[in-house]
């Protein structure tokens, strides 16, 4: 079971993950599941009507706007990083939070390293499955490295130019 970290009351905490990823070619399991975008589009309605919590996993090349209409019903959006250097999901996460108003869990999965903690948190991610063996304590520390930020993002940190004016 990979480490699963979630932001809870503003702090990083290790938690159990109630969801199971089900690949496109796998049989469904009972309970809460995370599906690929394609599979969600095919089976999502049915599974939701069964009372399950359902999440969607997006690959780096997939666009978050494809979920726009379904967002109120989606419990978690898992954004999969093929390589940590692939930064497309930072935009996806911000769009989910700031433009589409998504309130559910945005989870970083795949090649996820603690050095990205600060960036991810600011873009709206609130759950993390690190691939480098790091844990909640290290993620907490990584997000506290900078006392100030220079620009607005999806979080509620005030940028420097607002701090200066107050």
């Amino acid at each position: 079971m990979p480490t699963h970290i979630r932001l809870r009351d503003g702090r990083m905490a290790p938690v159990e993950d109630p969801f199971t990823y089900v690949a496109d070619d796998q049989e469904l399991v009972p309970g809460d599941v995370i599906l690929s975008l394609t599979r969600f589009q095919a089976e999502g309605d049915r599974l939701l009507s069964e009372g399950r919590a359902v999440g969607v996993r997006l690959e780096a090349g997939e666009e978050v706007e494809a979920l726009a209409y379904d967002l109120p019903r989606i419990a978690v959006v898992a954004l999969a990083f093929p390589k940590f250097r692939d930064g497309r999901h930072y935009s996806n996460a911000r769009i989910l939070r700031e433009r589409l108003g998504y309130k559910g869990e945005i989870r970083a999965v795949g090649d996820v390293l603690r050095e990205q903690a600060g960036f991810m948190l600011r873009c709206g991610f609130d759950a993390f499955e690190p691939a480098d063996g790091s844990g909640a304590q290290q993620w907490e520390a990584a997000t506290r490295r900078f006392r100030h930020v220079y620009q607005r993002a999806a979080d509620d940190r005030e940028p420097a130019f607002v701090e200066r004016d107050s």
């Binding site: 250097r85 692939d86 930064g87 390293l113 600060g118 991810m120 900078f146 006392r147 220079y150």
Partner: protein, 551 residues
């Protein structure tokens, strides 16, 4: 220039502490090199042929004496007593140890400097007009905007893992001294119909394997919307720039493949969906930044008798005035070039001792400012005409007064295979050889404006594509060969050079330049520069002269 407030100081301190911890973890083996490399790059630290290279950011090419003295000290304490100014107006130190890097960043932070984002797939150092604040032909000081962009782009959480590096240049003058058309984004200030200020936004310029000149995607963007608009451009790039092929990952490829019109449409659509209030700076913040860019000029007569006397009595000084000194917007002042192109020396290199000399001159004679330009030279932007003889004498004594600005020996050259892990051939010896051949100042003056640019590989850090004569080092079966191009320009008349012919062996390059200069001198009319003559005659006479032996 911009002075850090408490927030800026906290920021570089936090960044230094973070990097110190990351280096410690790397040395202890807790992070792999693959994981550490992007971190190292985001702090400007490359691993090159002989050692680590630290690229220190010089935002919009502006320094004070205090900063320059610190650079001199760092160079002699941690390196070999010299530094190298680059075509992005940063300073490189070529002999750095990884274990010293955090300490060096700490010293830089003490003088409000850093090495953040001078490498990596992030927004890099923003360059601006080296004449900013000193030239009559500017609409505004571009550095105010460059500083705004610098802060906005620093550790931007959405744009720290772009497909590739991202370079922005800002110019606000009638004459573009930033080569704005060859960068990912070039911002050229314009005045709108009702007198308000805005930017012409050019996107998708870039040299390298597939050179492009930037396309204008927006004729006029009100200045107050600069940052929100940049966010839109960066977001489109971050989402749709190619990530499958490092040679096709720059924004220029995206713009070329979509077409400028479609790219512009996507940016406008993204911008329309955004809330400009989110990213754009409030007036109070712009005013705060702007307040630091107000030099205190004295009221002086436009003419200096001391200068005129010195000029009349000293031909060498007069020559220096002709080439290295430029008109200033304030009567009684001038802009002075500090040439780092002494024939025989490495272009753009400066010793710690020379840095100290320039720092002293800046403090005493240039309102404590020094500039760096993309031609790898320095400038003292605010020198009183009365002080020019003294400044010249001091520069002369330090080997910094070669009267060759924009002349044949004012060569741009990248470090090349002597230092760089990416290079195919050396660039420095080629530059040295050519400069030494044309060292005679009278001959150089007769030839006139001739911009030679040399790159040691296709990455084009030496800007060879936009040289009047461009020279590209290639590896031909293990030997150093050089591809010559003609007719490039990085200015308002921007153009990419045309290939002259087959690549030449190293020992034929200087001769080829001689032959081409002879053709130019023979063919030129009515005050034509080399570039003008080439544009009129085309490549034929030059090609014939260089490859005549082959027939």
């Amino acid at each position: 220039m911009y002075r850090y407030d408490a927030i800026d100081k906290d920021f570089v301190a936090d960044r230094t502490a973070e990097f110190r911890e990351q280096v410690a973890r790397r040395l202890a083996g807790e992070i792999t090199e693959e994981q550490f490399k992007p971190i190292r790059l985001m702090n400007g630290l490359y691993l090159q042929l002989h050692a680590y290279m630290l690229r220190i950011a010089i935002p919009y090419g502006t320094l004070t004496s205090k900063k320059l003295r610190k650079l001199a000290w760092i160079a002699s304490t941690y390196d070999k007593g010299y530094g190298h100014f680059t075509t992005r107006t940063n300073l490189q130190l070529h002999w750095i140890k990884l274990k010293d890097a955090p300490e060096i960043l700490g010293h830089l932070a003490d003088v409000e400097m850093h090495a953040m984002q001078t490498s990596g797939n992030v927004v890099r150092n923003v360059t601006a007009d080296p004449y900013a604040g000193a030239t009559a032909d500017e609409l505004d000081d571009p550095r105010v905007w460059a500083e705004a962009i610098r802060q906005w782009s620093t550790l931007h959480p959405e744009f720290s893992f772009l497909p590739r590096k991202f370079k922005i240049a800002v110019t606000a003058a009638a004459k573009d001294r930033t080569a704005a058309k060859i960068y990912d984004i070039g911002l050229a200030m314009r005045r709108g119909r009702d007198g308000e200020l805005g930017f012409e936004v050019m996107v998708g310029g870039g040299l390298g394997r597939t050179p492009y000149l930037g396309a204008t995607i927006r004729e006029f963007l009100p200045t107050r919307h600069l940052l929100s608009y940049l966010e839109a451009i960066l977001r489109v790039y971050n989402r749709y720039g190619r990530r499958d092929n490092i040679w096709k990952a720059r924004i220029k490829v995206l713009v070329a493949s979509l077409g400028a019109e479609e790219f512009a449409r996507q940016v406008e659509a993204e911008w329309a969906k955004s809330d400009p209030g989110h990213a754009d700076l409030p007036d109070i913040e712009l005013a705060r930044i702007r307040a630091d860019f107000r030099p205190a000029f004295e009221t002086l007569p436009a003419r200096s008798e001391a200068l005129e006397t010195a000029k009349a009595s000293n031909p060498a000084f007069a020559r220096f005035l002709r080439h290295n000194v430029h008109p200033h917007k304030q009567p009684g002042y001038a802009i002075v070039d500090v040439s780092l192109k002494t024939p025989g020396q490495t272009p753009g290199d400066i010793t710690s001792g020379q840095m100290e000399v320039v720092a002293d001159l800046a403090e005493r004679y240039s309102l404590d400012e020094v500039r760096v330009n993309y031609q790898q030279n320095l400038l003292l932007p605010h020198v009183k005409l009365d002080d020019l003889p003294t400044v010249w004498a001091a520069l002369e004594a330090a080997g910094l007064a070669t009267p060759n600005i924009d002349l044949i020996s004012d060569i741009i050259a990248c470090p090349g295979l002597d230092y760089c892990a990416l290079a195919n051939a050396r660039a420095i010896p080629v530059a040295q050889h050519i400069a030494e051949r044309f060292a005679d100042p009278e001959r150089a003056e007769t030839i006139g404006e001739l911009k030679i640019k040399i790159s040691g590989c296709i990455n084009a850090c030496g800007h060879h594509h936009v040289g009047h004569i461009g020279i590209l080092g290639v590896d031909k079966k293990g030997e150093e060969f050089y591809q010559v191009t003609l007719g490039g320009s990085g200015e308002d008349d921007a153009a990419l050079g045309q290939i002259l012919g087959p690549a030449l062996p190293a020992d034929k390059v200087t001769e080829a330049v001689e032959q081409m200069v002879e053709v130019y001198l023979r063919e030129r009319r009515d005050g034509e520069r080399f570039l003008d003559t080439f544009r009129r005659t085309g490549v034929a006479p030059f090609k014939e002269a260089v490859y005549a032996d082959a027939h």
